[in-house]
Symmetry: C2
Subunit: 275 residues, 2 copies
């Protein structure tokens, strides 16, 4: 009775794009609606696959004719086991709720989870990414995905300008928003937290005195990356060792997410060597 | 008579968003229109600043009330000296021709320049980025920008899926589309060209047998990165030493532009060390 077939036959179907539920889902793209309801959108197979073990899902909306042949029915069954309501949508309303040009027929609604600094797990060799004031959802998402790939022990999103629970971040993170230990904090609290744990703060900045590959990134380290337009604020620069990525093409020649990747993997290289 | 003031007083002004010229500019967003006319769009101060020395500009459209206080009048004067016609637009038509949410009041029309493999400059220590089948303009642009930053001697765009002369690529490259030696080619020609020059081909792939920091990237090297969805084709994989970026988060956990950045700067590190 719990096989994929039964999942797909069960429950309601929404066929109209003016359905009230559809309008509610569209509204969840707005930060204030997420703040009001405590819910956020998780679209896509890979994203939901990562969310199902980590996030409280209240519902999953699905449209089998848009599926791409992964194992969608089994994922739905897992979501239902975890307590998610399953609601089938026709293609037309699904296109309306989707954030994508080519939706893959899966859209979940999850509960925004708490992200205090105290929730970051203790680590024998702390290795954190701190990002300050990132503006573009695509960059913030890519940074979370890259941090997960580099094996960080946590990410601190500092004074966010774009909401980490927005659909663009979920998408660009490919669901690593849920796999990487995450805190959201203001700069003062984050700096105090790092100091108490004696974690060295290393700022990536074009004006850094030492090249990233000459700086020691092997100890307890928090790499800090600033916003796309303005870089890091004084508060972080003053509290940090400053390192630069040696560039041939001038100071504005790296995207913020690429810069984070270069520094994270230089640190990962040094940490592997040190072991 | 050639100061910024005279630049801004001279020439025609377009006030209507339905003007024929405005419609032509909008059409240049389409690849087929670029192919038909041989023209492409270069929007934004930094992008035009890099283009003016490198690209044949036929015209620059400008809207002073949208300027952000850089040195727009001087840039216009330089463009005019290089032969560009200057056309003033009112805000309304400028918003229509702009590709951006917040345009900065500068949009150039440049001639698509030839990009043969034979145009790549000879280099004592060849260091190339080869990208295959990249789909997203933002990724291709970021890769060009990152390659410039890493000091490559050339970029080969192989079997492009997205047009390198599209507005999204120009934008994400921040104009480094014009600063980095660029060739567009099919895989066979590119491989033959690299072989004739005895340039080692190194493929970045999650299945690579050696870690990027254990592989020697200091000799004459072409780093090859595949498409976002499918990675590299057999043709490239078979012709290359395969290296992987050691990842904690699974094989799909790096964005293609970030992966290119990590490998390019690992190579840059090794090449600096080797000197």
């Amino acid at each position: 009775m719990n096989g994929p077939g039964s999942v797909m036959r069960a429950g309601p179907v929404i066929t109209s794009r003016t359905n009230k539920k559809v309008a509610e889902l569209v509204r969840l793209r707005l930060p204030r609606q997420r703040a009001r309801t405590g819910n956020f959108l998780i679209e896509g197979y890979r994203e939901l696959d990562r969310a199902v073990a980590a996030v409280e899902l209240s519902a999953v909306y699905y449209c089998p004719t848009l599926w791409t042949g992964r194992n969608e029915a089994a994922l739905l069954a897992r979501a239902r086991e975890c307590g998610a309501r399953l609601v089938r949508l026709a293609e037309d309303p699904f296109h309306r709720v989707s954030h994508r040009d080519r939706p893959d027929g899966l859209l979940g609604v999850g509960r925004i989870f708490p992200t205090p600094l105290t929730g970051l797990p203790p680590a024998a060799e702390p290795f954190l990414l701190v990002v300050e004031g990132i503006e573009k959802p695509g960059n913030l998402g890519a940074m979370l995905r890259t941090a997960a790939a580099a094996g960080v022990t946590g990410v601190i999103v500092c004074d966010p300008v774009t909401d980490p629970f927005g659909p663009g971040v979920v998408r660009a993170s490919l669901g690593h928003l849920f796999t990487v230990p995450l805190a959201i904090a203001d700069a003062e609290s984050a700096l105090a937290w790092l100091r108490r744990r004696r974690i060295g703060v290393v700022a990536g900045t074009p004006a850094g005195e030492s090249a990233s590959w000459d700086a020691d990134l092997s100890g307890p380290t928090a790499l800090v990356i600033g916003s796309e337009q303005r870089g890091l604020t004084r508060r972080w620069l003053d509290a940090a060792r400053q390192v630069r990525i040696p560039m041939a093409g001038g100071p504005d020649s790296l995207n913020a997410a690429v810069a984070a990747g270069v520094l994270l993997f230089e640190a990962a290289r040094q940490r592997t060597r040190a072991r």
